[in-house]
Amino acid sequence: MYKYIVKRVLLMIPTLIGAAVLVFFILRLIPGDVCELRLAGSGLYADPAEIELCRTNLGLNDPIPVQFADFVWGFFILDLGDSMWTGKPITFEIGLRFQLSLQVAFMATFVAVLISIPLGTISAIKQDTWIDYVVRVFSIAGIAIPSFWLGIMIILGLLIATQKFLGTPWMPPIEYVSPLEDPLGNMAQLIWPSVATGYRYSAVATRMTRSALLEVLREDYIRTARAKGLLEKVIINRHALKNSLLPVVTVIGIEFAFLMGGLVVTEQVFNLNGLGKLFVESVLNNDYTMTQALVMIVVAVFVFTNFVVDLFYAWLDPRIRYG
């Protein structure tokens, strides 16, 4: 097992290098660069000499291999450098946003698991009854409704409800506070985006739980468990659920990794300063260093999440043993 873990960690390196090569070259295929945008972006005339100076300062005039080596080396020594757009250290720019995105991703996952596993289970047990239909409509709605729209509805709903019942309208705070400083204030802000994204996320996982469980319930060993006279509760919880969770864990893992960089619109709706927004801005600004750093972080999250999912598999199913 330890050998496997070491192997998997080592295998992350080529994956990361591959991603680094791709992002580095694709970024440079985009016409224009950060200096043009910064100095002449608003359509003003800019002195070509000034642009040239800017390029030299940022290292954009260095030969491509040198730039690439710089980028990779910076990653190895964990020095991500400065943003080409703002000039501030990237670790500073990413730090808080990463914390926020990570927290939202975790909370959305939590919401999704909390909704999907019980609902999927009940829907499978009560297959083709009205309960099943209600759950299925609920989960299809989750897939169909964009989470940013749901986010808008949540904010509107909160405003209207608080206006009506408390007299003064209230909406989630806009300023981010660390959960360590002010857990309540932090929750008041982040619970809503987590619910909005967690609901869509749960929809896929609910359907996955339902279909996996339905399949497992037809297995011979479930009949064996019934023939033993066990309680239905025990049959579902002990005999069926563990067997049906493999595909659900896969979905949850992929979604989690996606949430780390893909929550662009939802972040806008709730006015969150997360990685998604930073991502879009950095691409629009041709901020090479920032985009590269963000892509690498998201890739690392994906790779790591996959690794955790694989470890989960082994825990759920003893037939899976990695060597």
Binding site: E219, D220, Y221, R223, T224, A225, R226, A227, K228, G229, L230, L231, V234, R238, H239, K242, N243, L316, D317, P318, R319
Partner: protein, 332 residues
């Protein structure tokens, strides 16, 4: 004293989009205490469904027991509440299934699967259940039981898994074990071991056994009484001796002829049962075996024969049963 198990006029049907499948179509039989009864028939004749019906394990929908009675130790199983039937399952009547590969839960340890029945039915604590599980594994001939308890089904061979299934069935010292093709999925050499084990254990513990099989060799060796099923009905019943030496139904006869035998010359061709088993959704008035029967007479199309005695304890559902028992024997 009433028999241990008495099945009377049992009908189990499956309501599918293709029509109503009459899987068990009015069967009756009796199992006495400590006795081994075989139910024989080809695939799809309703023998497994009849067994699952006893413990009410028919998946509903689409299946349902529509009529009949199953009395076990004086109690009507079909009248019990879900709660009550659960106390019968595993505790008084246990089952051994066909596929040991898929009938054990792959993600739970052997120990867990053995002890859960004990803690559930007998209120044992974990230590007592573990001790009993060790004892049971030893009883069914599994070496190193202490280590096995912590293993998963995929660590065990097919034969071993079937031994575990038997140990599970014996857990609560039931009165009756229903074995649904217990050896079909196993190697021939292992089959004999498993059957010997089941015979020995049931005899020693005074447990009655219903053994469902399509293997006539199994029947000859282990069963006290045999019920031959065809198209959801019992078409012949008798002792193993009756069935083997003087079959009184063309289907039984055909089955016996289709089995290769060591005491016949190799050159001799096997004589398979021609045709297909009937579609259980479209049964008519007549005898369901008649399209495949070599002794068919006009009456077969009009009326399905009832199970009637040919001699003491030997019954057959065939209009021509008396003709069969005569000269045909020599032909076989």
């Amino acid at each position: 004293m009433p028999p241990l198990l008495e099945i009377d006029n049992l009908y189990t049907q499956f309501f599918t989009s293709a029509g109503t499948v009459r899987a068990v179509d009015g069967i009756s039989y009796v199992v006495e205490e400590g006795e081994t009864v075989a139910i024989v028939g080809e695939s799809g004749c309703g023998k497994s469904v009849s067994a699952l019906s006893i413990l009410r394990l028919i998946p509903d929908p689409p299946g349902r027991i529509v009529e009949g009675s199953i009395r076990f130790m004086g109690r009507e199983l079909l009248q019990l509440s879900d709660e009550e039937i659960r106390h019968v399952r595993g505790r008084e009547i246990a089952m051994v299934f066909q596929e040991p590969m898929t009938s054990l839960n792959p993600v739970l340890t052997i120990g867990r699967q053995l002890t859960e029945t004990l803690t559930h039915h007998l209120d044992m604590d974990d230590d007592a259940a573990r001790a009993r599980a060790l004892e049971l594994l030893d009883l069914v001939g599994i070496s190193d039981p202490d280590r096995r308890l912590g293993q998963y089904p995929h660590h065990l061979s097919g034969g071993m898994r079937q031994r575990v299934m038997i140990a599970m069935a014996l857990c609560c010292e039931p009165k009756l074990i229903i074995a649904d093709e217990p050896t079909t999925a196993l190697d021939v050499t292992i089959q004999a071991q498993i059957l010997e084990l089941m015979k020995e254990l049931t005899r020693n513990m005074g447990v009655a056994l219903i053994i469902i099989t399509h293997n006539l060799g199994v029947v000859a060796r282990y069963a006290d009484r045999v019920n031959v099923m065809y198209a959801g009905k019992i078409i012949e019943r008798g002792t193993a001796l009756d069935i083997y030496h003087s079959p009184a139904h063309p289907y039984t006869l055909a089955l016996l002829r289709s089995v290769p035998r060591m005491d016949q010359p190799r050159k001799e061709k096997l004589d398979p049962v021609e045709g297909q088993p009937p579609d259980l959704t479209t049964l008519d008035e007549g005898c369901p075996f008649r399209p495949r029967c070599r002794y068919v007479v006009d009456r077969c199309a009009e009326e399905n024969p009832l199970l009637e005695p040919v001699s003491e304890g030997h019954l057959s559902a065939c209009w021509e049963k008396d003709r069969l028992r005569g000269p045909l024997k020599e032909a076989s």
